[in-house]
Amino acid sequence: MKARNNPFATWRLEQLQYRLDGPDWNELLGRFDRLGRRAALVGVHGSGKTTLLDEFAARFRQQGMHVCSFRLTQDEPDFGKTLDGVKSSGLGRNDIVLLDGAEQLNRSRWQKFLQFTGSAGGVLITMHRAGRLPTLYECRTNPRLLASLMEELAGGFEWPAARNAAELFHKHRGNVREALRELYDVFAEG
């Protein structure tokens, strides 16, 4: 199968909407306000934290807020030059800071980050475990979710081999993103 036709290509995974389990968006945004607009999205690897954070960004923009987004990874665990531009102009009540991968910051850098964002209108981070900020939402996965995503992405395709969502889910220990990537390879070989 050609890479561009693969139903599990990265661009298709990135278009998946996060499926809230429990509260709806109004409730979540209300909860964020009640938490003083300083909160965290918590969840294991591949549970959709980044996807959910991106959807929060879109909603904050719809509200007329200015969103400053940062993504920290093992390869780039610090802000580097990206923070300088924001520092020079300062943060105000209309700014919301989104930080994906807050666990990459050690304690002293985290304290600096808190100081830097003190004047911002809101801060929302992602973490693998609860702790640094109150938990706004915990991203959870289950085999049913994986099966539903598989259907959404490749329901109309002829599957090269039978795939059991529960088996795949447990093989990847709940990491839905890795389970979907394995399915890329299944279709690529087929």
Binding site: T10, G46, L72, Q74, D75, G101, E103, Q104, R177, E178
Partner: protein
Amino acid sequence: MHDGADNMGATGGNDNGPLVLRASYSRLGKAIGSFLFAGFWNGIVSIFVFHLIRGAMRGAFEWLLAIFLIPFVLIGLGAIVFFIHSLLGIFAPRVVITLSARRIRLGDPVELNWEFTGRVQVIEKLNICLEGCEEASYRRGTSTATDRHIFARVQLITSSDLNDIRSGHTRLQLPSNSVPTFTARSNKIVWNLRVNGVIRRFPDVADTFPINVLPAAPMEADA
């Protein structure tokens, strides 16, 4: 990526003159690096091992410490083996590849010459091939993963004859129905010349030379 970019590890004269390829990494550097790591790691681990042995000789064997040290000792032993392997690799024969043209285009024939220096007689079998590889990088949690897939492999020479192994030449022709070198941030097409020399009871010669492949020469316009 620009037309006519130099090939890595390459030296050469004029724009379309011969291209000389040498392995870009240093075997000596690799051996020194592995020595430093093995020395540092085993130096620290040995302090605890020494303490453990001294305790055992006094009749007070610390089981918990012993179990805790197992993985560290295993890593240390692995580091020593890697260092020895790297050290032996310094004495392995070296190859220099010369291509007849600096600008290598899809579909165009290129003469390839190789020459080994050093203890060539220890090489039992030589294999030189050209590989085209897709490389796709993506986010995996908080790190980046890169998948690779070899889509083309052109066998250039396989020989067990010492005269052929010592030096020789062959013709290399990149498939005309393929793609040139492509470099983007997360997606790449790379072409490599791979030289593998099998040496019994010794690290093999395993060198990779990336080459920059340009698009095919423009075709004649349709009538």
